[in-house]
Amino acid sequence: MTVPVIELVDVVRTYPGEPPINALDGVTLSISAREMIAIIGPSGSGKSTLLNIMGTLDRSSSGSVRIDGVDIVELTERQLCGVRATRLGFVFQSFHLIETATVVENVANGLLYQGLSRRSRNLRALDALELVGLGDRASTKPPKLSGGQRQRVAIARAIVAKPSLILADEPTGNLDSRTSADILALLDDLNRVHDATIAVITHDNDVADRFQRCIRMRDGKIENQAHTGGVSS
């Protein structure tokens, strides 16, 4: 039996207020290596909070969060940064590309905080760009790319460090349906062929239905976890 990539046990995240708001209320969840899951729920259901806690961008109020078996509650702020630099990859709805840097530089930024040399970062970035089908656009700058291509660059940046877990927050939220399908197919390919573990947050049922496992959130709790059988392209 292997250690889950990420394991949340009875995680609570409370925001102060009158009365205090439980954005997450006793969430228990485990994702194994090479799994591809969707987290779905309406606005305010706590899915973004869940992603932030899984991504160590936020800390839980109680409960334990283990990444590769290590309880991150015990880690210092600096160690958490190390976890993000080496074990987690992020894909955001709004891409967050640096417009004045080239595509390869944007992807290489995924390794910037690992202390690698510029040369080795760029070499690995080129490999990652090949994987997402943008090997020929390395020296282009983001303003010259389409939305789908921009999201591919962001995905390349997320996978370049070969993280244990890729967290994607509404990765198709800014894309048309055809480009969305392409991006989902790319994520599926990364999962099946390259063994990437991926968690995608979405509010779109059609998107969620294409994943092996779908976690439905409501009012800070997991409503149900369904195995749907995987992505269909």
Binding site: G69, A85, F90, N109
Partner: protein
């Protein structure tokens, strides 16, 4: 780090560290500037103006001083002037007739020349009685050597001409008598006699009083005009390393009976004092430049705060990629410092250009104040770093989860 696997085994997990190479740290800091070139240059201008004004002030002052010192060097600081002072009763005293020969006996004295101010008027002609504030001074043929007087036109009083009714005009005297050339043999009237002008002097920085004088031969003055032969000033060159020792000796030699009634001064002191006055003015102008620098620093801080707000997404992304708060802080401090250094370098260029133009227009030697230039760049760097501290810590404190959230 040791973890317990679900099957009860202990496993060693190495969690990676977040670190960035120093070269990447700098590159990341500079990247923000390169992406907004217009804003970068405009913001840097505040510092540039401050540094430019400071460098110009220091540069012009240093060039002026260098020129003054070069002038002093040329004229020599080993020239002393002996004049009659006042008696104990407050009356004007006189130098004895034998004062000059006595002074030339002093071992450290290398050369002497005396002048005698004559109490008479000088005018363009005998019918002109307009007051002009000019003095008439009798001199022998030796004065030009010791004071390094140079004729702008014509010649000076020498052994031959000092017995003749000829005059040499100081630079100001020439202007006031409206005689700009010796062509055509101009004359002036001194004490009702006509004197032919044989030369006009160049301005002399150590002896502005001679610029306002008309020089005539001492033999002519004594023998023909019957003036008092006692010198009213004796110029003395002494060994350069014995100036201070010689000063009291000169007073005693000039008038052994009443040495306290003799004034001994050094004309170059006045020029040195002028250089010091310039330094006071320089400090004031430097302080003004400093204020401009501070204003530039506030401008940088202001723009950096705006930049942090605008780049919330980028900061969130970097935090998600593993940047620590320290990495973000240093990125913005480097950016602010680079902005200020850019301003500093532009300011140096403008300041040196302005110094060059001004010094050249004045015919000065151009002195490059390297120390001021170095201090200017270091000062700009320090102001930039200080200006960047607040926005940088604001950026570092941003909540990463909040920062990556889509805007609006």
């Amino acid at each position: 780090m040791t973890v317990l696997t679900p099957d009860g085994l202990q496993a060693q997990v190495v969690m990676g560290r977040s670190r960035i190479r120093p070269s990447d740290r700098v590159r990341t800091g500079l990247g923000g500037l390169a992406s907004r070139p217009t804003r970068t240059v405009l913001t840097a201008m505040g510092i540039a103006i401050g540094i430019a004004s400071m460098v110009t002030v220091v540069g012009i002052s240093a060039s002026s001083k260098a020129d003054l010192l070069a002038e002093l060097d040329k004229l020599g600081t080993n020239l002393l002037q002996v004049r009659p002072g006042q008696s104990l009763l407050g009356e004007s005293s006189q130098l004895p007739i034998e004062a000059e020969p006595m002074i030339s006996e002093v071992g450290t004295v290398t050369d002497t020349a005396g002048i005698t101010a004559i109490d008479t008027d000088v005018s363009r002609n005998i019918y002109d009685s307009t007051p002009n504030g000019l003095d008439v001074v009798a001199t022998d043929g030796h004065l030009d050597d010791i004071l390094q007087l140079e004729p702008k036109y014509g010649r000076l009083i020498d052994e031959q001409t000092q017995t003749l009714p000829v005059a040499v005009l100081g630079s100001v005297a020439g202007e006031r008598l409206i005689i700009n050339t010796i062509d055509g043999g101009p004359t002036v009237a001194i004490g009702g006699r006509a004197f032919q002008v044989i030369g006009i002097l160049r301005p002399h920085p150590l002896h502005p009083d001679l610029d306002r004088s008309v020089l005539i031969g001492s033999d002519f003055a004594t023998n023909v005009m019957g003036t008092d032969p006692n010198h009213t000033a004796i110029y003395v060159r002494v060994s350069p390393d014995r100036i201070e020792d010689t000063r009291p000796v000169l007073a005693r030699s000039a008038n052994p009976a009443a040495s306290s009634e003799v004034d001994v001064s050094r004309p170059s002191d006045a020029l040195e004092a002028q250089a010091k006055v310039d330094q006071n003015l320089q400090s004031l102008l430097l302080a003004l430049g400093g204020v401009a620098l501070l204003v530039g620093g506030v401008g940088i801080a202001n723009i950096m705060v705006i930049s942090v707000i605008e780049r919330r997404g980028e900061i969130g992304l970097r935090r998600a990629l593993g940047a620590t708060r320290g990495h973000i802080r240093s990125q913005f401090v480097i950016e602010a410092s680079a902005l200020a250094v850019l301003g500093g370098v532009i300011g140096l260029g403008i300041g040196m250009g302005a110094t060059w133009v001004y010094a050249t227009s004045q015919g000065w030697v151009i002195a490059v104040p390297y120390r001021a230039l170095g201090l200017g760049v270091i000062g700009a760097l320090a102001i930039g770093a200080l200006a960047g501290l607040y926005p940088a810590s604001k950026a570092a404190r941003l909540d990463p989860a909040e920062a990556v959230r889509p805007h609006g």
